[in-house]
Symmetry: C2
Subunit: 670 residues, 2 copies
């Protein structure tokens, strides 16, 4: 039993006990117990990293929360409290969760949805299946030709009563395989392709013996900046490997416009096609190496991507996409064969490019709408309010609607959110800084790096890290609302205080080689041996990117006579990394200011839609229907976009009333 003014505080794990006067912050009591809690934001209750579980020793209230900014109602019910924002009022047991678990409870931190079977898996709805065929060899009494014999066996195996199709190269191999395998083979049959639903099923491959335990296919998303591949086993329906890499075309231009210009010159189109094929073939090699299979075993690929990427992939001239009236060669593409395109799969594998909507809203979005589950979210919400689906890549595309209606538009964001075109940007792989907190007093950052548990040191900043960094710089005053670096931060008094910090190396805001910059990681702590910085130019790029995306959403809402706060749910797709911090995205003005719980971060929705199309013929049809039904707004023909863009070039926005939660935070901070 504690004295009225002194409370007994026990810390778990470890069991250390200290006496603390009532009113002591948990963080100070912990320090007394020799426990140094992580407070990246400097103890302001912003980051939520110091969340602990407090349990009163005798059933009475033993703590008092000053701020619950990071905590949900469920968190509070479970006893969570922020150590920097909570005072001790009675005897209490404090449990400090591992850092890992803390990350999980942040309600504003959205983890990309795991890749799992997106629906109940029905093999009869798959576009491909493999069948084991055992045949009686030919004789003088039965001179049936090889191909007819295989078809007869297939009819027995499948119940299909008519003919099958076969490509010439497969037929050329047939006799040899049949005889070498003594008339027992596995036939891979493609039941239909989107453009030939009524045609005969096609034998894609004939393999010796029983090879029906796996059937390999690939889902691909060709982004302007990032190319993502899933290896799928159609027998289990599962993604068994994945790989991503920067699109090799980047060296010929960072955005679609510069690629189109490059493609229109000399041999540019062929070169750009070659570059992206090299990237894709590299990804195929990676997943095959991982699963110890041969690329020739992969018998189908479904491809999503924006129209320019699909045009360049298929070597379709993209020039008319760039020039008014902005018309692509096609929004629906012919089904081709891997061999015809030069992709390292089974040469007879169908390559199915998903259909798009318009010159700047492509298959990534029609596929993404399906992949995001927009329609089922609308159904679950049941409030009749529209859902916003955002795919944030080099181009930002947005879709607003309730599934009965869908409007869409696109704007150029640039590659910054994919970690490209930024001085120390990188993809969300090992060594990428994916989260940053800045201490508002010291301006010193705390970072979270992908792979740090395995001892990985930081190499650069990925998209989510850049968002996090920029928001922190804004909230802590390292930059102002126009994004300008504050060189006045480190006055004499501040420097004197900071000099006492053992970790202080010098002012983080400085004039660097390329102009103003903020040092995120000093050279001695980085994997590369040089300072990791964000430059004024980077900040400007990010500001323009976020402004473009917000402006696109605003125009979309405007076009249907809605305000942004009428949006019920925001579905966010894009390859930022595994997480995106919604609160910080809202603080930047990248995402609209709706309650955090109404955001879903879905990761790469485009490749997810392609994956669904691989598993289910109806999903493939659904994507085509979505593409057909979307209404496209051409922003180049819409003056309001430019106005919205200009207004959104501030942090979070010229009109702060659009961001009430950010306004409240800023008020508290100042």
């Amino acid at each position: 039993m504690a004295d009225n003014d002194v409370c007994m505080v026990q810390f778990q794990p470890g069991g250390a006990i200290v006496d603390a006067p009532a009113g002591t912050l948990i963080i100070d009591a912990a320090r007394q117990a020799g426990i140094d809690l992580n407070i990246p934001c400097g103890g302001q209750g912003r980051c939520g990293r110091c969340a602990v579980v407090a349990r009163a020793a005798n059933g009475t209230d033993a703590i008092k929360r000053r701020s619950t900014l990071r905590l949900s109602a469920d968190d509070i019910a479970a006893g969570y409290a922020l150590a920097c924002q909570t005072t001790i009022t009675g005897d209490v047991e404090i449990t400090i969760p591992p850092q890992e678990s803390i990350a999980r409870i942040l309600t504003s931190d959205k983890t990309a949805r795991a890749i799992e079977l997106p629906f109940e898996f029905d093999r009869d709805r798959q576009p491909l299946r493999s069948y084991l065929l055992s045949m009686t060899p030919p004789s003088l009494d039965d001179q049936t030709d090889d191909w007819s014999r295989v078809q007869a066996a297939l009819r027995r195996a499948t119940g299909w009563e008519n003919g099958f199709a076969i490509d010439l190269p497969t037929l050329r191999r047939l006799g040899t395989v049949l005889r070498a395998a003594e008339w027992q083979v596995t036939a891979v049959v493609e039941w239909d392709t989107w453009d030939r639903p009524a045609g005969p099923p096609r034998v894609v491959d004939v393999q010796p013996g029983d090879q029906t335990s796996h059937l390999w296919a690939a889902a691909l998303d060709i982004g302007t900046t990032t190319v993502t591949l899933y290896l799928v086993d159609l027998v289990s329906g599962r993604v068994v490997a994945q790989a991503a890499d920067y699109n090799g075309q980047i060296r010929r231009g960072e955005d679609v416009i510069s690629r189109i210009i490059y493609a229109s010159k000399n041999n540019g189109l062929a070169e750009l096609q070659r570059l992206v094929l090299d990237t894709i073939n590299g990804l195929i090699a990676q997943v095959c190496e991982f699963r110890k299979i041969e690329p020739q075993q992969i018998v189908k690929m479904v491809v999503a991507g924006n129209p320019t990427m699909q045009h360049l992939f298929l070597a379709l001239p993209p020039a008319s996409i760039r020039l008014a009236p902005y018309v692509p060669a096609a929004n629906q593409y012919p089904t081709t064969r891997a061999g015809e395109l030069g992709i390292d799969l089974n040469p007879q594998a169908t390559v199915d490019c998903l259909p798009g909507v318009a010159s700047y809203v492509g298959a990534d979005i029609s596929s993404g709408v399906l992949g995001s589950g927009l329609c089922s979210v609308v159904e679950t919400n049941g409030d009749g309010l529209p859902v916003l689906f955002l795919d944030i890549g080099t181009n930002g595309e947005m879709v607003l609607g309730d599934c009965d209606w869908l409007v869409t538009c696109a704007c150029s964001a640039g590659p910054a959110f994919e970690g490209a075109g930024v001085y120390h940007g990188m993809r969300a792989t090992l060594g990428a800084i994916e989260e940053v907190w800045i201490n508002a007093q010291t301006f010193e950052p705390t970072i979270s790096t992908i792979g740090q548990e395995q001892g990985e040191r930081p190499r650069g900043l990925c998209g989510s890290g850049l968002i996090s960094l920029l928001a922190e710089m804004f909230i802590t005053g390292v930059i102002d609302k126009s994004g300008n670096l504050n060189f006045e931060l480190y006055d004499q008094a501040k420097l004197a205080t900071l000099a006492e910090l053992p970790t202080f190396r010098g002012p983080r805001v400085r004039q660097g080689e390329h102009g103003g910059e903020y040092v995120v990681v000093w050279a001695e702590d980085s994997a590369t041996g040089e300072d990791i910085v964000i430059t004024a130019v980077d900040i400007d790029n990010l500001l323009r990117a976020k402004a473009a995306i917000y402006a696109g959403c605003a125009v979309l809402a405007q076009s249907v006579g809605m305000s942004m706060d009428m949006i019920s749910t925001v579905l966010v797709g894009g390859s930022f990394g595994k997480h995106i911090n919604v609160e910080k995205s809202v603080q930047l003005g990248l995402l609209p200011d709706v309650p955090w719980e109404n955001f879903q971060f879905l990761g790469n929705t485009s490749v997810r839609g392609a994956y669904m199309a691989l598993l289910d013929r109806e999903a493939r049809q659904r994507i085509a229907e979505i593409a057909r039904s979307m209404t496209y707004l051409e922003l180049s023909a819409d003056n309001s976009f430019y106005d919205q863009f200009t207004s959104a070039l501030f942090l979070p926005h010229t009109d702060i009333t659009l961001f009430p939660s950010v306004a409240a935070l800023l008020e508290r901070e100042t």
Copy 2:
């Protein structure tokens, strides 16, 4: 008014008048009038070349025919008489027709059926059509993509309500063509292919402006020895050019077996494919040059040929065709594109290989049965008796039936009937000797050469020339019934008589460089400056070829319990030349001894079937049905074939009772 014993004879044209004693042969009266009639057979009434028209001056009978062997009842009614077999009995006017017309009236000489529209031509049943499309250009108010715009225009032009397909290479060109042609283009649409009847129609080509006045396609027959191509204008439905050439594969083997062996070694298959493609591309170049069009304007090709030829054409391994149990890779082939195969047509042109029946009865026969009109012949005959269809090429294939049932088999004849594999053999082109008559007294030949009217001199012997020559040699005793050359022909007495002939150069039967031979043309009369001969080896080849074909027919009849004389009609296909002399073919024992009027010589029935398939989708389906419905006899599993072959190695046959007309002729000659 003539004296009782002296008749007045006037010859037309010219009007020369002579008095001739009653009983004078017309030929002698003509000689008196200074007119030298052509009597290649030496005045024995065999050749019919001296046919004239006799008209009595005063209504009474003025002539007496001794033999009417060459004359039909119609001929006699029209006044025709053989000058060497007809005596004058009264005043008469004799009209000598031009040589050209004489050839026409020979009842035993069958001219290949002219290439004409094989049926009433219905453009709606064609597999391809072209459409003129005029489109409104895109604008900011109508951002429809190029391909959707073309499809919308096509729906308006055709009434088809669903989507169209397009190949990637065509789509790649689309935008450029549309803009260069200011949105007025001709689209070539393939409505279906045999293996995709229910699939969407495909846009094969898009050409600037209005190009709907012609639509080019090709029908091809790939023979082991001869390759034949028709250029067809699908707008009129007519064959507008044709070309034929020896198959370039001949240098790698004369028959299918040696080709298969060659194909099975090293790179043999690829080489043989290359060789036939070169031949085909050469033929395409020829017809295009003739019509002044570009090969790229040809948008479809239908291909007939025997199974080995089709396998080599498609580079399908043919090895199993040769080895028991004689099974081809396929009897139905995938539809491919010209570009995929390396054929100089529009690269997107469909190449449709017609279906076959078995390893040695291929698309040439299923196509040939349709092309020969077998079913309609059966219908016209109305006697319920079966029809024999024979395709005489390097392989001889035969079909017997009444259309409700069809049995078929094949045997190897060798290339002799196509003028190949024979010392002075050649194709039926300019300079080919296509008919030979031998004077039974002098053994001097009279020849008919293709192009002789234009001054063409003989270069060699084509198939019909060889048949004609061999039969004449047999009938006149130059060879015996085993085919041995008679070196005893020229005894001292004979030589003394012959020396008086101004044209006599020496004995025609002699020992040449390559053994025994008969000189058909002396060097001074030939275009090549060397003697044109037929050698003992050639004769042996021809004998084996004719024996194989007759034996095949005999086995076929036997298999259905019929004798050869129950055959109502014989349809003969093959590329001998423009004519085939049925009587001589019967004399050789190549064709069965049925009345001459019951033969039809159809020329190349295989390419004709391919032509019909180009014009009519139902014809294409019909060929597939014919292929499916034929019963195939495997001769290698049938001992009776060898017996029949051995019996047929004599002229005309070991069993002369099978050839009553020949027996009668031989009796008369001796």
